[in-house]
Symmetry: C2
Subunit: 117 residues, 2 copies
């Protein structure tokens, strides 16, 4: 890491020359990038960030009927956002009778957290 590049040394290079030292790019895992992006994408909406935040702060399982009134959104819309989070593995859900409870699955965000740090 911290491999620095020669920075723009040749302003007058001949036609076909490279502009700078070639970037060593050992096929850095497109699959990994895709996983990271998928999680980030799921968090790329303020409503979903707030949903995760609430669920995390409560550390237990929160009922959908509690989540809906926190937003100025219809119940199906909140449900839709929860589905996105579920598809990304960020939250899990559990039904108890009529109610559905959601909770955060911290492992899902672990790889992203690690990459960011």
């Amino acid at each position: 890491m911290a491999v620095d590049l020669e920075l723009a040394p040749k302003l007058k290079r001949p036609k076909g020359d490279a502009c700078c030292e070639p970037v060593a790019y050992p096929e850095i895992d497109r699959v990994r990038a895709q996983r990271l992006a998928a999680v980030a994408k799921a968090l790329g909406d303020p409503v979903r960030v707030q949903l995760v935040d609430v669920l995390r702060k409560h550390a237990g399982k929160v009922c959908v009927c509690e989540l809906v009134p926190l937003f100025d959104l219809s119940q199906p819309t909140v449900s839709h956002h929860l589905k996105k989070l579920r598809e990304a593995g960020i939250v899990g859900s559990e039904r108890r009778g009529l109610w559905a409870y959601y909770y955060v699955q911290p492992d899902a965000m672990e790889e992203l957290t690690a990459w960011l740090s």
Copy 2:
């Protein structure tokens, strides 16, 4: 943190009752959620994750002409992704003559990293 909820105690509540203890949600910073989501959204594409990754690994400034051939994408498309990252404050750019060099601005991702941890 780690305030647990009473979990689904009343399966037979009378009509108008709440399904569970109300979630205390003291207007948890929608603005903050928006900032976090904006950064996450910018990272919500595999190409952009890889771009950031390459830039970070090189810790210096990398020329666009080096970045383009790393992807199976046209130059304008790479430019577009770089613009998204720039708009999110994740990368900065500098021109030297014909060439444009990009670098990561780590501060931009700091808030997201902190929130995730």
